[in-house]
C-alpha cells in the first residue's frame, strides 16, 4: 500500500495517479456511487472519452477486463478487479437544481460541511485545481451504479446494486489526473441526501503482461495497449 484515504459521503477529491499504480475504490455503504473523470497528466486535452470506451469494447457498462479510453486511442486505466459487477458510463452528474429540488436547499451558512454538493459543482471545483474548467467537463463514469437499458432505450437504475465493502481496481496505464465525487447517482429516487463514503487505496501494480485479461479481452484493447506503450517507450 502506498497510501489510503477516505472521501466522506458528498465530498470530492482529485489527485494524480502514476502509470503502474492501482487505485482501489471501496464502497463505504450500500448504494454507494462515485463519479469519476480522467485526464492525461502530461496533456489534459487528452481525456476520458465515453463514446470511444463504449464502441471499442461494444459495451454500455464497465466491469473487470474493460479499459477506459482517452480520445487519442490510448488507455488511461484498466479495470483489473471488480466485486460489484456493473458501473454506469451513461448517466452523468447531478446539478445544483436537481440536488435542491430532490433533497432540499442547503447552504454552508447553516449546514456547514453537511451541505448537499452537486456532482457538477464538485467536478468544477476539482477540475479548477488542475487549470481545467467546464470545457473539460466531459461525460463521466458513475462507479458502483447499475443502469440497464431496455429494448425501447429506457434507463433504469437498480436500487440495492452496490453493497458496502465492494471494490473496483483501476490500474493506471498513463499518468492521470483523477477527479472523484462521492455523491448520489442522478437517477437515484430517494429523498434523503446520504451518499456513502468512498475509501481509496493506492498500491503498486505490475505492468500488463501479454496475457493480461484487459489486453486479451478484444483485439481493440490489444491495439489500445500498443498505442499507449508506444507513447511511453519513445
Amino acid at each position: 500500500m502506498i497510501w489510503e484515504e477516505e472521501i466522506p459521503g458528498g465530498a470530492h477529491w482529485s489527485g494524480v495517479l502514476r502509470r503502474g499504480v492501482v487505485l482501489r475504490l471501496i464502497a463505504g455503504g450500500d448504494d454507494a456511487n462515485v463519479s469519476a473523470l480522467f485526464f492525461s497528466r502530461e496533456q489534459p486535452l487528452e481525456r476520458y472519452n465515453m463514446a470511444d470506451t463504449l464502441k471499442a469494447q461494444h459495451i454500455a457498462h464497465l466491469t473487470t477486463g474493460c479499459v477506459c479510453y482517452s480520445d487519442m486511442g490510448r488507455i488511461l486505466c484498466s479495470i483489473t478487479a471488480d466485486t460489484c459487477g456493473w458501473h454506469d458510463p451513461l448517466c452523468g452528474l447531478t446539478d445544483a437544481a436537481q440536488i435542491s429540488s430532490r433533497y432540499g436547499a442547503t447552504r454552508f451558512q447553516e449546514q456547514r460541511n453537511q451541505r448537499f454538493v452537486s456532482g457538477r459543482d464538485a467536478m468544477l471545483v476539482e477540475l479548477g485545481k488542475h487549470g481545467l474548467n467546464e470545457r473539460d467537463l466531459v461525460a463521466n463514469i458513475n462507479f458502483f451504479s447499475k443502469v440497464a437499458v431496455d429494448e425501447a432505450g429506457a434507463l433504469r437504475l437498480t436500487t440495492g446494486h452496490a453493497k458496502a465493502g465492494q471494490y473496483v481496481d483501476l490500474r493506471f496505464e498513463m499518468d492521470t489526473i483523477v477527479a472523484l465525487h462521492a455523491g448520489p447517482h442522478p437517477l437515484a429516487t430517494g429523498t434523503k441526501y446520504a451518499p456513502p463514503a468512498i475509501r481509496l487505496q493506492a498500491r503498486r501494480g505490475s505492468p500488463p503482461a501479454a496475457d493480461d485479461p484487459c489486453r486479451v479481452r478484444c483485439p481493440e484493447n490489444a491495439r489500445g495497449y500498443i498505442n499507449t506503450e508506444r507513447m511511453y517507450s519513445s
Binding site: M50, K55, R74, A152
Partner: protein
Amino acid sequence: MKGLDEVVPAGEPWMGVVRAGQSLRIVDLEGNQAVDTLFYNAADTAEHYSAQNTIQAQGRIYLTTGTVLLSNRGNALLRIEEDTCGRHDTLGGACSAESNTVRYALEKRSMHSCRDSFLLALAKQGALTKRDLPSNINFFMNVPVTPTGELRFADGISAAGRHVQLRALIDTLVLISNCPQLNNPCNAYNPTPIRVMTWDNA
C-alpha cells in the same frame, strides 16, 4: 422563407447558426448516412449540447420527436419537432483517426474521420478547439444497447429522403460532420450527401 438550403457532401464539415425560433432540417438524401452533430449556445460557446444531461432528463438513450436537447448547464437548446427516421444515437460519438487505430487496425490512422472534419471547421472558426468537442449526436445512426449492457452498431433504420427537424430554443451554433467512416455499417459502407435547411417560423 428566410434561411439556408445547402447540400453537404460526405466527408465535409458544416457550420451555421440557427436563431431562436428557427427550424433546422437535416435530410438523409440517399439513406443510412450518419450525421455527427454538435450544438453550442451561439452567445457563449462554453455552453453546448450534453449527451448525458439529455438522456438523463428524458430517461432514455434514443433521440426522437419530442426530445429536448439539453446543455452542459442543464438548459434547453433545441427540441426535435419532426423525425421520419424514428431514432437517433447519442452514445457512439464521432470517429477519429486515433479511435480508428483501436477499432479497426493501426494502419487505418490516415483515413478521414469526423473528428478531423470537426477540428478543421473549428480551426477556421478560430475560437473553439478540441477542448470544445464533447460527445456528439449521430443523426440517422442506429446504435442499440442490449438489456445486458452490450452496444451494437446495427444501422439500417434510415432511408433515402428521411429527415429530422429541430426547433432552436436559443440562438444555436451548429457543427456537423457528414461522416466519412468506411469501416462499419453506420453509412452502409457508402457515405453520401445530406441536405441542411433552416427557416423562420411564422
